[in-house]
Symmetry: C2
Subunit: 331 residues, 2 copies
């Protein structure tokens, strides 16, 4: 199903080596259904006259709550079998932004990012300090706290073990990781060890844009690694004057190329429409240096772009009228 040229809300659930022949139709259905649920949740907010920020949060929460995606429940594990979640949100009307890095106890990290934006004078809080603030404010603003175990799923534990075994194998130690690796690759259907971030961008009835991104990072990441998702201008950006963007992919490349702000800069300075600027950054700037991934981008007139330079990207759009489209592969 091709994406519509116009939309009020876009979501993604990660980009990567997602091939038709390695994905069962049952898995396809599970992913597309959940992306559709996220779009419907966000659309409901917008249709009722809610803000683009509320719509972004509503859509992302659905994806965070699903173990299918690498964000919230079902996030990938760090090298030492921990969960560290990153998220960011940005308001295109005010340029206010909030981000969290390496948090472990807020059920929906996107709501934690929003709490930083709305209840501190800072943009980014990380680690234990962020946790302290979030625990303090949780009751007052209705943040749901959970034990870190809530986020862990058997599949992610298995993927971590494989990743570590595969590393060991590469350095010469004996291991059976290859077989195990193949097994899970087949079960999951794509290389979600590396990708699977979720994100949303929305345009509300007042013409305001917002963007949000949430992720568990990459499997077996070094404890303390922060990718592009919570970095304003890299994985997440929104400005009514240009567009709202959420990225997914090999974060380090998106950081070095300041990928999401680069799209905004091309629109602002080169007067490129979002349909040219976003694909350029993904298919030329990033692709040329081996930076794999994709992004969703929406401008103030509802023009949508969903470029990716990987075999697939979980993505979806909903129009003002509530028409939902969801895609996985390169159409």
């Amino acid at each position: 199903m091709p994406m519509p040229a116009k939309a009020v809300l876009l979501v993604h659930g990660g980009a990567g080596v997602i091939n038709r022949d390695s994905m069962s139709s049952e898995m396809e259905t599970r992913y597309t259904t959940k992306l559709g649920d996220a779009l419907i949740a966000g659309h409901k907010v917008l249709k009722a006259g809610g803000s683009s920020l509320d719509a972004v949060v509503a859509a992302i929460q659905v994806l965070e709550d699903s173990p299918l995606f690498n964000a919230g429940k079902g996030a990938v594990l760090t090298r030492d079998k921990r969960i560290e979640l990153d998220a960011a949100i940005m308001d295109g009307a005010s340029l206010q932004a909030g981000a969290v890095g390496a948090i472990t106890t807020v059920k929906n990290p996107i709501t934690a990012a929003r709490a930083v934006m709305e209840h501190t004078e800072h943009v980014m809080l990380i680690g234990k300090g962020a946790e302290m603030f979030l625990r303090d404010i949780a009751k007052k603003i209705g943040l749901t706290l959970v034990e870190p175990d809530y986020f862990m799923t058997p599949l992610r534990i298995e993927q971590l073990e494989e990743a570590l075994a595969s590393e060991k194998e590469r350095y010469g130690a004996a291991s059976h990781s290859k077989t195990a690796h193949r097994k899970t690759r087949k079960a999951v259907g794509f290389d979600e060890n590396k990708f699977g971030t979720v994100g949303a961008v929305a345009l509300d009835q007042s013409g305001n844009l917002a963007a949000g991104t949430s992720t568990g990072g990459i499997t077996a990441k070094r404890y303390g690694r922060v990718g592009d998702s919570p970095l304003i201008g890299s994985g997440t950006y929104a400005d009514n004057a240009t567009c709202a963007i959420s990225c997914t992919g090999h974060g380090e490349y998106f950081i070095k190329h300041v990928a999401s702000y680069d799209v905004a800069a091309r629109m602002k300075y080169l007067k490129e429409p979002v349909s040219i600027a976003a694909p350029y950054v993904i298919n030329t700037t990033l692709r040329e240096c081996g930076g794999f991934g994709g992004m969703i981008a929406l401008d103030r007139h509802g023009n949508a772009a969903v470029p990716f330079n990987t075999p697939g990207m979980f993505r979806g759009a909903v129009t003002e009228d509530g028409e939902v489209s969801v895609s996985i592969y390169c159409d």
Copy 2:
């Protein structure tokens, strides 16, 4: 002393409310001498044919080691009387970058950022995870580790107490903070509670640019707050195709406007020279929304810009021939 139009190395030691009438000539001399030392240390590297990365590290280490600046020894304290140091470095030739957030035991945080760039596949490591990696690799690569107490100075403890008392006063509790505040303001000579980040940008004989920034953040910051300094594209950026930049100021504004990459984007897309692009971002984009601070910027031909929208910025430049200039106020 006006800055030269051409340079091979620029440094800054923070921007803020730095007025001639509140700064003793003895303090002035201490600051200008240390900035000069940093420039000489970096110039020595460049003159010997060393890389711009090495020069940036050499210059920043001098400023980190001095208790005068808010980086390394003498960094400001968090709300709960802790030290949390952030730093970033970027190589304009390869776009490789490294950053650390909220670290507490590496004597020179700029060397920690470089270790992340050169010895991991990540760009950013934060908090405890970063510490674990840095401790593991310290011996192998010659990182100097210290106890967190090393960084603390009596002045910074006093400033924290004043900041907290002043907050309390604003909310109605009795306190003697005002007198204390005046006392220290006079002793220090400017509002370095807020600013005082250090940074360097350099151009080596091979024509390669590099940028680095190091900071303790802002006094009484919420534990876990990350400002713009360690964020690639916000406080630090380098690309041979455009320029090398290090920022200082109210970090949250520099994050939301992706300030350092915005200069690069203006150069790349609007074809503005660095002497136009850098002042535009500081004096128009940031100033218009109340974002105070400054930056140092250097392009591949040695064209230098040192814009700031505060009353002063500690800054300095050295030319290829080793001519050193240092300034504090608006000349």
